[in-house]
């Protein structure tokens, strides 16, 4: 995998880490608890991360990009639905806006950017595909220290979301407009 493609995948993974951490800031510092659709947008971000981890660990392959694209489309569906719920004039939206846009709008833009980014990364790896056409098996890459660190950061943030989600919603369902944590009410 070329350095540029590897760098692109690491940037994609880091962008997900940053976005999920920013969501934690809103949740824990500003006390804005995520709604079920917000949670599903976080899930879509985490799902995109699986494709990036596979690319960083096993080498960049179209199948891994397929996972990222499917996840980004799922994220577009969730954030688009959320946006449509608050699109009418006069609706104040859900949560605080950041730079004039609500978080679900930023998330929708993020998934569009992800799809565009994956398209660029696919264009960049023409040479690797040519190598496969002449009979080489794609080599397994030992992830570099930096790639490994990015992957573990991503895993930690995703598992942190699992814990936060359980504390807020419990094992079954989140409230539509959450105001407190399920585990702390018990």
């Amino acid at each position: 995998m070329s350095t540029l493609v590897r760098f692109g995948n690491a940037v994609g993974a880091l962008a997900i880490v940053g976005t999920l951490l920013a969501a934690f800031v809103f949740q824990f510092a500003l006390h804005e608890l995520p709604c079920p659709l917000c949670m599903l947008q976080r899930v879509a971000l985490a799902l995109c991360g699986v494709g990036y981890v596979l690319n960083l660990r096993l080498g960049s392959q179209p199948m891994h990009y397929g996972l990222i694209l499917l996840s980004a489309l799922f994220g577009l569906a969730a954030s688009g639905r959320h946006l449509a719920l608050h699109i009418l004039p006069g609706d104040k939206g859900f949560g605080s806006p950041v730079l004039g846009l609500h978080l679900y709008t930023w998330t929708l833009l993020f998934f569009l950017a992800t799809i565009a980014g994956v398209a660029v990364l696919l264009l960049l790896q023409t040479s690797e595909r040519a190598e496969r056409w002449i009979g080489h098996r794609p080599e397994r890459h030992a992830a570099g220290t930096l790639s490994r660190l990015v992957c573990w950061l991503l895993i930690l943030v995703v598992l942190g979301n699992a814990v936060a989600s359980f504390v807020q919603c419990g094992p079954i369902e989140c409230s539509d407009n959450p105001t407190s944590y399920w585990l702390l009410r018990r």
Partner: protein, 51 residues
């Protein structure tokens, strides 16, 4: 439910990092289907939009 989905995704990532692609992708598939079902479950409010 979302806690379970995040957990599945986290385990899928750990398996991917250990080089076990088939298992990781299997868990991804389960998490993806569960997420799609959960999204459908939450898409209940009618939209006041006409196209």
């Amino acid at each position: 439910m979302t806690a379970l989905i995040f957990l599945l995704v986290g385990i899928a990532m750990i398996l991917a990092l250990r080089g076990q692609r088939a298992l990781g992708m299997g868990l991804f598939a389960i998490a993806f289907v569960l997420s799609a079902m959960w999204l459908a479950h939450h898409m209940t409010d009618p939209l006041t939009l006409s196209f």
